[in-house]
Symmetry: C2
Subunit: 346 residues, 2 copies
């Protein structure tokens, strides 16, 4: 059996030597290398940007959609939308585990898993598409996929439906990183606390800070603020426009005895909120950006411009046990589970 | 005397309530608020992107250039290029210090300083332009500027020429942050070690890691590698193409007993080097991005894609005492002083 590269570089056909994600074509042979996992795929969850684009291209015709997906996967050896560059994730059963991996991981043949690395870097072979459910971006297939040694995954829980688990796993990095970062007694600001990752982060932060700390959640209007208060995941709720950094700062100072916070966590999904994340934080504090709309230069130059000696961290979607940490929130909090079921499960 | 906002929001005329940097027009009155510093300006160092643009616009005619600069400052109350959005810095003497600041800072009237916040947020009034030296982007003026309470500055040293001090202060954040981050015994990779900030970071990192640690410097070709070796600021020098992450990883492993590093510091100025910074770092390690060409999403999604549990930090140009830390490198190292004088002093 051949030895594979940790990151899957051995599967790249074009251009040689690059990583699988930027590669144009992967080898999707189902014969595994010694450090790979073969997955018998149940269904793909296509990334919504990609799926919208595919629906447009095919005018919503299911047969055309099936053909287009088959075409892309045949051409690239992976389900990466040529226009959006994005992928999605997949659910399936472990069929084979390479001998070099077997004793290092907590998986066994037959386990049902969700891959948490993008389809845009996952070798995939589709024999046939059985069904498409366009309203939930789901493509049921008969096919196989390969997970590299560096690939992350989560065993699917048996105590909740797939759809709920996937909604949580989608943002699992945020609460897990919050757990790592937030210390007892910290004063924490959560921007976008009423959203999917904001709720999970607030919940985890509140547990971490304990009785001496405080979690301040930001909402964009009174209605969202009322909702946030009803969840009880924050100690304080402020209403502020995140595009107005000085307004955010003022509202934070008002509920925090005129003091800056130790840490802010940006869970928003809109651009130009860097300064609203930076201004309320004390010198020596931490700013954590989960928002994919964050601009590196706006953050770097912004902090310098206001002379803020803060540590700014790029949100990493992966950290050890992030799946378990996020799923445990939903197991612990009935209120959040209910909100997720109502709002985020399609 | 009126009380001013820490960040200078009281000086913003248009649009009200925004911070001075994104503002279209600032109040450049030389009557100071209680927490401001009035500076008698000697010269402006226009940001080179802005200066190139101005030269283009005016066809290199010095009188037209003077008029254009006067025009911009009259219109905006600050020297912010309307096209590039960038500013630069200024050198001048402290003329007045607001009473609310007087006892909090280490400045006195008459001190010669360089402002380290951008001209794009600094209220400026120009009476006349005395001289322009286009080859060093310098504009000598008779005029006044205002520094806000949050504004950062550095007292100009008397043991080196302005030009040398400015070349060092320009990248002062990088070595200062390196000093904070790097611990004894660490294995550190510096990408772009042969450049201006790379040399300073390597020097500081080598001091920090001590005898048990190691600093690995990356150079883009043999010639640059020879130069880097001659400076003696790194323990090991590798030649690798930063656009090929797997090549960088291999070269690092070769000189580090097949082990990943604790920390990588990206001092490059080219795009698409996120993965080259992430791959060589061990789980639990740190990736520090100083490069302004860093893409937030490429870093965030890239780390997740390869399942790397690393902390990724956005380079902050400011940290406490960053000016002194950087200038001290040049005071300590004759070799680096000589390189800076030859290569970076115009």
């Amino acid at each position: 059996m051949k030895k594979g590269d940790k990151y899957g570089v051995h599967r790249v056909l074009e251009p040689r030597g690059t990583l699988p994600q930027p590669a144009l074509k992967l080898n999707n042979s189902t014969e595994i290398y010694d450090n790979e996992i073969l997955i018998d795929v149940e269904y793909l969850n296509i990334d919504s940007a990609s799926f919208e684009r595919l629906k447009e291209e095919t005018g919503g015709d299911i047969e055309k959609l099936k053909n287009r997906i088959m075409e892309i996967v045949e051409e690239r050896g992976k389900m990466q939308n040529p226009v959006t560059g994005s992928g999605g994730m997949l659910i399936g059963k472990v069929e084979k585990i390479g001998p070099a991996l077997k004793d290092k991981i907590d998986l066994k043949v037959g386990d049902r898993i969700a891959t948490l690395v993008s389809l845009s870097l996952t070798p995939l072979k589709i024999n046939s598409i059985k069904n498409i459910e366009p309203e939930i971006d789901r493509v049921e297939i008969d096919g196989k996929a390969i997970l590299f040694e560096s690939g992350i995954y989560s065993k699917l829980p048996t105590d909740m439906p797939d759809t709920l688990a996937l909604a949580v796993l989608d943002v699992a990095g945020a609460p897990a990183q919050t757990k790592k970062l937030v210390k007892e007694g910290d004063i924490v600001l959560i921007l976008g606390a009423t959203g999917k990752s904001g709720l999970l982060c607030s919940y985890v932060a509140k547990k971490q800070v304990g009785k001496k700390g405080k979690v301040i959640g930001q909402a964009r209007n009174d209605k969202r603020a009322e909702f946030l208060k009803s969840t009880n995941v924050c100690h304080e709720v402020i209403v502020a426009d995140v595009l107005k950094p000085t307004e955010v700062l003022e509202k934070v100072l008002e509920v925090n005895n005129n003091k800056e916070v130790d840490l802010s966590i940006n869970c928003l999904s809109i651009p130009n909120t860097e300064m609203s994340s930076i201004l309320p934080v004390r010198d020596g504090g931490i700013v954590y950006f989960f928002s994919m709309a964050t601009s590196f230069t706006k953050a770097a130059l912004g902090a310098e411009g206001v002379g803020k000696d803060v540590t700014m961290i790029i949100g990493n979607g992966y950290t050890k046990n992030h799946d378990k940490i996020a799923l445990d929130v939903i197991r612990e909090s009935e209120a959040l589970r209910k909100i997720f079921e109502e709002k985020y499960v399609k």
